[in-house]
């Protein structure tokens, strides 16, 4: 019987293990010790580790600089931001200070810190509480950027991040927090920079990360029944990017969909398609980017339902890429969409807001 834990529990457990193993680890963020505990990811930790699970002033920039200072002096901070949008205040401290400190002093000092950032979708977070800015951070040398999709990887990659001697941006999708999966109890790490073939297939490669991997996995059995064997490459790590795993898969299928939670232009999809072009891997069909449209995020759930790409978009594009007839595709997609239950702005029926 496999030990099941939710993604939020896996993160909570990883932080507990990290703090137990190493007295230099601490967790800091706005609302970290409060009863809701950042969507459950920090619940109970403050009582177990007095003084090491801290609230902080609403000062994302200064506090990030302070965590860099703590890190160069021997601590291993885990910073938590309940919304990735809040980290924009901290861009200077992250990009100019955290990412560069090791380099600009010739390697004399390290900045071992993890910055957890939560991205979201649904229930009206709107333009300033939902942004998925992985492409922004992945552009910066000196940072690692990870986006695990499963509870297993969340625990292992957070522990990798905490034991890494350099800054790691750890991005969690809000809709992953409630999803359960097998999570081994002891300490283990999942290496940063290694993708995972989440499902083997032969007809089309779907490269995805974070919640879009969930969407891809959701549609995958249906695609099989529709005669499309999809290979799903779950990136897990955005920077460094596991180009080899992507190239190996696309070299085999020669058809590509990249599904990302961020915006389309200058995004993760653009980078991956470029890597394939640079490697000279011929594609049988033009590659497809499934991403947020190049517009800001509306709040009303009536609008958000159209805004966010889902497994339906993956299904449609996979069928088209695999040369299914247009009329058949329309019919099949209508049938697939009808199988999806629940509301487009709730991860599952137990989610009733308010955030």
């Amino acid at each position: 019987m496999k030990r099941l834990r939710t993604y939020a529990q896996a993160i909570n457990e990883a932080q507990e293990i990290a703090m137990r193993r190493d007295p230099s680890v601490f967790v800091i963020g706005e609302g970290v010790p409060d009863p809701k505990g950042i969507f459950g990811t920090t619940v109970g930790l403050a009582a177990k580790f007095p003084g090491r699970v801290m609230d902080m002033p609403v000062a994302e920039s200064g506090m990030t600089g302070i965590c860099v200072g703590a890190a160069i002096a021997g601590m291993r901070p885990i910073m938590v931001h309940a919304r990735m949008d809040f980290t924009i205040y901290a861009l200077d401290a992250i990009i100019n200070t955290a990412a560069k400190w090791h380099f600009m002093f010739g390697g004399k000092q390290n900045v071992p810190m993890v910055i957890r950032m939560i991205i979201g979708r649904g229930w009206g977070p709107g333009p300033q509480h939902s942004q998925a800015l992985q492409a922004l951070y992945a552009h910066i040398p000196g940072l690692s950027v990870v986006m695990p999709a499963t509870p297993h990887d969340a625990k292992g990659m957070l522990l990798s991040g905490v034991t890494d001697d350099h800054p790691v941006i750890f991005i969690e999708h809000r809709w992953l927090h409630g999803i359960a999966g097998p999570v081994p109890e002891p300490f283990y790490t999942i290496p940063i920079g290694k993708a995972r073939v989440a499902k083997k297939g032969t007809d089309v490669t779907i490269v995805s990360a974070s919640y879009m991997t969930v969407e891809a996995m959701r549609v995958s059995p249906w695609l099989t029944r529709a005669g499309v064997s999809a290979e799903i490459v779950d990136l897990r790590s955005i920077r460094p990017l596991d180009v080899q795993t992507i190239l190996a898969s696309v070299g085999k299928t020669r058809r590509l969909i990249v599904a990302d939670t961020g915006w389309k232009s200058f995004g993760i999809g653009a980078e991956i398609i470029t890597r394939i072009a640079e490697a000279g891997i011929p594609l049988d069909r033009p590659p497809v980017r499934i991403a947020l449209p190049d517009m800001l995020t509306p709040t009303s759930h009536a609008l958000a339902a159209e805004y966010y790409p889902t497994s339906v978009d993956i299904a449609r594009n996979a069928l088209i890429l695999c040369d299914k007839k247009k009329t058949d595709v329309q019919k099949a997609i209508r049938a697939y969409a009808a199988t999806l239950t629940g509301s487009s702005d709730q991860p599952d029926p137990t989610f009733t807001g308010p955030f």
Binding site: I72, M75, K108
Partner: protein, 306 residues
């Protein structure tokens, strides 16, 4: 001979030597000389202990040397050499000497203030002795991150000495279009910490107020202290020359030169010290010039590309 004056003269002569050599275009990075402001670096560092951490800005040569940073490694860093304090990767704006806990200088205005506060936080969490000192200019208090760092340092009563070198200018922009007319030290008081204003041109005054501040911080629950020193930069913001008259009023410069921090040094003392320091400087420049450049491999081997 008072070691404070020796140190100020040494910093002055190093800066003048850099200014002399700079036009040869072998030091190919921006330099921000601290001529005129030496008393603050020397006075503050004179009251510190080995375990205290020091942070600085783009104008860091004086702080680095007053703290005891290696002169040879500093000059080599300016020449971009492998023997430089940051292996030639940082340049004049990124000096470091971990041996003496000079933990870093960076030119993004106010960016090292929270880092200094973070080191103080770690000292407290690790139950280790030592305070953090951060030097910064008058413009730094215009940055939000400075206030965020001061707020947190005060909130947690962290052992931090904030040293504001108010030289009246940000590059060549005077205070008037940047800040309201109030003492900068009042900002720190607003953050709930002790703050002093003092003459930054008299090293004995600097030392006294710094000792008072550091004693207060070391008393444990004393919390952070802020000192605003009045000072003036005798040369241009960036580069080896004086400012053009259009940039800063020559009369203002002349008035401040009457308050040159090394004015207390008698000509006899000056003449006695000069050859010793000159010899050390010559050796440092020779060391820098003779040192090899870093290989590109040393850069790519650093964790920089990830």
């Amino acid at each position: 001979m008072n070691t404070l004056y020796y140190q100020m003269l040494r910093i002055r002569m190093v800066e003048e030597a850099i200014a002399r050599e700079y036009p040869k275009q072998e030091m190919r990075c921006p330099i921000h000389l601290c001529i005129g402001q030496e008393a603050i670096a020397v006075g503050v560092c004179s009251v510190l202990q080995q375990e205290d951490a020091v942070f600085s800005t783009h104008r860091s040569h004086g702080h680095y040397l007053a703290r005891g940073g290696s002169l040879g490694a500093m000059i080599a860093e300016l020449y971009g050499k492998a023997t430089g304090s940051s292996g030639g990767i940082g340049g004049s704006m990124h000096l470091i000497d971990t041996r003496v806990n000079f933990l870093g200088a960076a030119p993004i205005v106010a960016s090292t203030i929270p880092v200094a506060v973070g080191v103080a936080l770690s000292r407290v969490m690790q139950n280790k002795p030592g305070l953090s000192v951060c030097f910064f200019g008058d413009a730094a208090v215009e940055e939000g991150t400075a206030h965020e760092a001061m707020n947190f340092a005060s909130l947690r009563r962290l052992p931090v000495l904030f040293v504001c070198e108010n030289n009246l200018y940000s590059t060549v922009t005077p205070l008037a279009p940047r800040q309201p007319q109030r003492p900068i030290a009042d900002i720190a008081r607003g953050h709930g910490m002790k703050a002093f204003q003092a003459d930054g041109q008299d090293v004995r005054v600097v030392q006294n107020v710094s000792r008072h501040a550091v004693d207060s911080i070391r008393r444990g629950a004393g919390g952070p202290v802020f000192i605003e020193f009045a000072t003036y930069r005798f040369v241009e913001h960036c580069g080896p020359n004086e400012d053009a008259p259009a940039l800063r009023p020559p009369k203002e410069l002349a008035a401040w030169k009457k308050k040159d921090p090394i004015r207390f040094l008698s000509p006899i003392e000056h003449r006695a010290l000069e050859p010793l320091i000159a010899k050390e400087i010559t050796e440092a420049f020779r060391f820098a010039k003779e040192s090899p450049f870093p290989t590109y491999e040393t850069v790519t081997n650093l964790r920089a590309g990830n």
